[in-house]
């Protein structure tokens, strides 16, 4: 027999008006847009070009002229850190959004349909997750070359299994819930049941995972660029900037690598806090609704 099933927040899953997945994604995406806007403003105000060297000013320590100093090519590190946001935040976000859409659709469908399709897709994602991330990155770059698109593809590939498993495991207990049976009884198509009745019920874990995956994606972009196979020089990118300072760090030029790494750390922590905030928000909204 069927019974009322609980979704992961502990609220009874039911079909009354739910906020859509997009309305919850709206404000993390808004925050990303805001950060991007600020970064563009800083780059515009800054007297230095992020990709042009300044003559006779290699490896200057932090000062009033160069807040974070200059790198081994004589480029202003402060300006470059802000210019890098385009690569370091927008690329991972694009990759994670791709993964979110594809992974969630596949996961909900597999959880709803079950059977062979489900076990096939589950084995496939398990296989994908077993490949070590940076080695997969090396293989993909070896096969396809490096650049922004390849990084987006890589981040999407890495995150699809995460969103697949999340949405599958939350859909599974719902696929026999009363409201789904009722919708089926009313003669709704699978497509309509999935988009109108199932997806709105599994938004929490997915939206909360979104910023965490973005934070992870930022580390992937920076890590691959640090290895020299991500974003190519002379673009501004945090991992690339750390790589520039890595070999001269042991001569005491700490600032070249220090500030870009700090930027990664702060951004990733920020995304984690964002994720926690979204979960809390959602729970408050659930509580206020009933």
């Amino acid at each position: 027999m069927t019974h009322l099933s609980r979704n992961p927040t502990g609220a009874y899953a039911q079909t009354p008006k739910q906020r859509s997945l997009w309305s919850f994604l709206l404000w993390p995406l808004g925050v990303v847009a805001l950060i991007y806007g600020i970064s563009q403003l800083v780059v515009w105000i800054s007297p230095y070009d992020p990709e042009r060297t300044i003559e006779k000013s290699q490896l200057l320590p932090p000062s009033a002229q160069h807040l974070f100093g200059t790198d081994s090519n004589g480029m202003d590190i402060f300006t470059r850190i802000f210019a890098a946001i385009e690569n370091d935040i927008l690329l991972p976000v694009a990759g994670v959004i791709t993964a979110l859409i594809l992974g969630t659709i596949a996961g909900v469908y597999a959880g709803f349909k079950g059977k062979y399709l489900d076990s096939l897709a589950s084995r496939f994602t398990e296989g994908l997750q077993a490949i070590p991330l940076f080695l997969l990155g090396l293989t993909i770059v070896a096969a396809l070359g490096n650049g922004a698109t390849v990084l987006i593809i890589l981040i999407a590939i890495v995150n699809i299994p995460i969103f697949f498993r999340l949405s599958r495991s939350t859909t599974l207990p719902l696929s026999n819930a009363d409201f789904v049976l009722a919708a089926r009884g009313a003669g709704l198509s699978d497509f309509r049941i999935i988009t109108k009745h199932l997806v709105p019920n599994i938004t929490v874990p997915i939206v909360a995972q979104f910023p965490i995956s973005c934070g992870y994606g930022i580390q992937v972009v920076a890590g691959l660029s640090f290895l020299g196979i991500g974003i190519p020089i002379p673009s501004a990118e945090w991992g690339l900037m750390i790589k520039d300072g890595a070999s001269i760090l042991v001569y005491g030029n700490w600032w070249v690598s220090f500030f870009p790494g700090l930027a990664i750390l702060i951004t990733v922590i920020f995304f984690h806090i964002l994720g926690r905030q979204i979960s809390r928000d959602y729970q408050r909204w659930i509580a206020g609704r009933s």
């Binding site: 994908l128 077993a130 080695l135 760090l249």
Partner: protein, 335 residues
């Protein structure tokens, strides 16, 4: 137990075939396999020869089967930069990675298990807050950046650590038996080589432990918090057992199995997950080998390392499941 073993072996095999298929599709279908295996400087004769030899004119299904056969016979082709067989080179570099990863996981356990237990037994205290802070920092900090600044502090400023190049100082010469320099130097009783090997291990181990092992801290704390709430702990406390005994003798035993499971999985993950740290410390393991081959546009080693690391991970995962099933009959029944 036998049926569990068989079922688990089938899923592990499927996982490996899937990963190989994914890598096959990426390298053979999406990318150009000729450029991939021979590099961009190959001559037309080389290309034709390779096409025939690698069977690229065969049907795709046949190609995949041949590919699998090569992997099973541990044949990853030749490295175009050194001319030697890739599998023999990987075996040369593998012990360095295994030694690093083993010590890193142990370091993680030594630091994080006591920290997590104390954090859980004193909820709301400073230590509990430190635990949460370490978890957030550990998952957010880029490992290569942490490694660089550990080098900066301990090598450049404090002059305590050896230079970040390799596994042992050039003057110590130890014959390789197991490939683990620490064990090899112990076997021959070479104390100075042992100390040197340990000092070279210290910083990369610490870097990996502080970044990749934080899930151990998180799990330890969460497990202990939930175990400490259970009725038998309350009974023990009411019976007047000292808190130390309650926490370590009664509660910790129940949290131990999941912690060890996670540690084993961290170990499996790190075999392919230490690429960045190996690069930072010039640690001559399989990760650095893959990266340096990549720079020489020599892709066969990259592929070999990726597949070997994946298979190792799946194998460790399989062993962990097997051991948990032997220890705990409930797991056998569940699956």
């Amino acid at each position: 137990m036998l049926s569990f073993l068989v079922r688990r072996m089938i899923t592990a095999t499927i996982t490996i075939v899937v990963t190989v298929a994914v890598i096959f599709i990426i390298t053979r279908k999406l990318g150009d396999p000729i450029a991939f295996m021979l590099g961009p400087r190959a001559t037309p004769e080389q290309i034709n020869f390779f096409r025939e030899k690698a069977g690229l004119n065969d049907a795709l299904g046949l190609q995949f089967l041949n590919y699998l056969r090569d992997l099973v016979s541990f044949d990853f082709g030749e490295s175009i930069s050194t001319g030697r067989s890739v599998s023999s080179e990987v075996l040369l570099y593998l012990p360095a990675t295994l030694e690093l990863v083993t010590f890193a996981t142990l370091t993680g356990l030594i630091i994080f298990v006591p920290l997590g237990v104390y954090g859980a037994s004193r909820r709301g205290s400073l230590i509990a807050k430190i635990c949460d802070g370490v978890v957030t920092l550990g998952v957010s900090i880029p490992s290569f950046w942490l490694g660089l600044f550990l080098i900066f502090i301990f090598y450049y400023i404090l002059e305590l650590a050896p230079p970040p190049f390799g596994r042992v100082s050039g003057s110590s010469n130890v014959e390789s038996v197991t490939g683990f320099l620490t064990i090899d130097s112990l076997i021959v009783g070479n104390v100075s080589a042992l100390l040197s090997a340990l000092s070279y291990l210290a910083l990369p181990c610490l870097t990996l432990a502080l970044t990749s092992c934080v899930p151990i801290l998180k799990l330890t704390k969460e497990m202990m918090v939930s175990v400490l709430k259970s009725p038998y702990i309350r009974t023990a406390r009411n019976l007047g057992l000292p808190e130390r005994e309650v926490v370590w003798k009664l509660a910790f035993k129940n949290a131990l199995v999941p912690i060890l499971t996670l540690s084993a999985m961290t170990f499996g993950f790190l075999i392919g997950g230490s690429v960045l740290v190996e690069t930072v410390f010039s640690w001559p393991g399989i990760g650095l080998y893959a990266v340096q081959s990549m720079y020489k546009l020599d892709y066969a080693p990259v592929l070999a390392v990726t597949i070997i690391a994946t298979v190792s991970f799946v194998f460790v995962y399989f062993l962990v499941d097997l051991i948990s099933a032997i220890v705990d009959p409930r797991i056998r029944a569940k699956s």
